[in-house]
């Protein structure tokens, strides 16, 4: 039931995305611009971490892609709610969890595709990293986009007025990006900023991916990254299930 329903809904949303090539590529645009026009400024600068500047920047851009792309996913469900589509589906016996998973899986596949594009472009720009490290990076992007997209849907459904959704996401995502050292590692930060950044879970993810990109897999940083990603995923699934099960979603 859950698998069948999720597959049906995933198919519906995937077809909607495929009909709009703009939507497919748009999410990769901002990180690509950073890659082309900001990345070259960093070459040769001391970034306080192992590896060259591309091995530090590209993991940050990958997570930026996930952070911004997935956290705005909720817009789609606001539209569906306004059109009455969500209610029409909720009156069928379709699994409530599938209503969430069908969308988040589509989002995850979409952002993973954009992440692959970004890494291919980065290889052209001069990134060199071990293949297992690159794959670990994609693993983190998958967990991050899956959980953030779910949380975004929850926020979109729970906000009393949908006009608040865009501002709310911006208010959350911008500091999350700056405080997790996505652009430049927090190793460069003064003490207070470094301390503050430890309260932002994305910091652990980006540091773990940076380790992976330099071929370090069995580190404490990696462990924290995995724990943070697992924690986010559990939180997202729990809150998401509760919201979509809740009769008034």
């Amino acid at each position: 039931m859950l698998l069948h329903d999720t597959a049906v809904l995933f198919g519906r949303y995937a077809r909607q995305t495929l009909r709009s090539p703009f939507q497919i590529f748009f999410g990769a645009l901002t990180p690509l611009l950073y890659l082309f026009f900001f990345g070259p400024l960093l070459t040769g600068l001391p970034l306080g971490r192992a590896g060259d500047s591309w091995q530090v920047l590209v993991p940050g851009l990958l997570l930026q892609l996930g952070l911004f792309g997935a956290s705005f996913a909720g817009f789609a469900v606001i539209m569906e709610k306004n059109w009455g589509v969500l209610e029409r589906m909720r009156v069928t016996p379709v699994s409530r969890l599938a209503l969430l998973l069908g969308r988040t899986l589509r989002d995850t596949v979409l952002f993973l595709f954009q992440a692959v594009l970004l890494v291919l472009a980065a290889l052209l720009m001069g990134l060199r990293a071990p293949l297992p490290g690159i794959l670990v990076g994609f693993g983190f992007v998958t967990l991050l986009t899956f959980s953030l997209a779910s949380l975004s849907y929850v926020l979109a459904l729970r906000l009393p007025s949908p006009q608040e959704f865009g501002p709310a996401i911006n208010t959350l995502a911008m500091p999350a990006m700056l405080l997790s050292g996505l652009m430049l590692p927090m190793a460069l930060a003064p003490g207070w900023l470094d301390v503050l950044s430890h309260f932002v879970p994305f910091r652990y993810l980006v540091d773990a991916v940076r380790d992976a990109y330099t071929g370090h897999y069995a580190t404490a940083t990696m462990l924290y990254g995995v724990l943070a990603a697992a924690g986010l995923t559990v939180l997202a699934v729990t809150v998401g299930t509760r919201t979509f099960r809740g009769a008034e979603a």
Partner: protein, 258 residues
Amino acid sequence: MAIISTSGLSRTFRTKQGEVHAVRGIDLTVRAGEILGFLGPNGAGKSTTLRMLSTLLPPTGGAATVCGHDLLRDPVAVRRKIGYVAQGGGVDPQETVRSELVTQGRLYGLPRPEATARAAALARDLDLTELLDRSTAALSGGQRRRLDLALGLTHRPALLFLDEPTTGLDPGSRAALWALVRRLRDDHGTTVVLTTHHLDEADALAERLVIIDGGAVAAEGSPAALKAEHGADTLQDAFLAITGRGPAPVDTTPVAVQ
């Protein structure tokens, strides 16, 4: 046999301005195979009641059994047996008529070939065949309403809730819808609960009427009985007498245009 029975069903909304008692304790019994007209002025609580009975909105009080299942304890069993067409419809403008119909079938568990066949049959019944490959964004209001109806009929529900199904339909489509409702009942024994503001429609189609006002049942009975009870020639006069909303006195002040 009762297909719906409610006792004290109520719903209070909490808003910033305070509580809204949309439905205040409704006791309702609907027989299987009946066409029930659910009438009432704007804001009377019709949609709220239908949304509770179709599992979309949890009641804040009371209980209900729908199609033999407890509304609160077994909503999934209820969903399998009912169809619901919302007052505002529920069509995605990014999809085509065909994809909406097929997806709906798949959500009710039909395998793809069956869902496709069912979509074609529904399109025939609701005069949508020519429009199957059109984007739903390009449908007229009445065409979209017919699609809403087709979506609600996908799984041949035993009980069908129609919230103002004929709003926006031209006379021909409306007559076709009346015929469809009668056919569903006569051929398949479908129970239909429908709301409408067209009292001629209620008079022609419904065997029994329940009139609610301010969230409570104000009257019920057959159209003929309600008219007789209030000494009215038309259902409209009976309705106005029941809800105490007689015609406003004619205002003779000239209308200021500028």
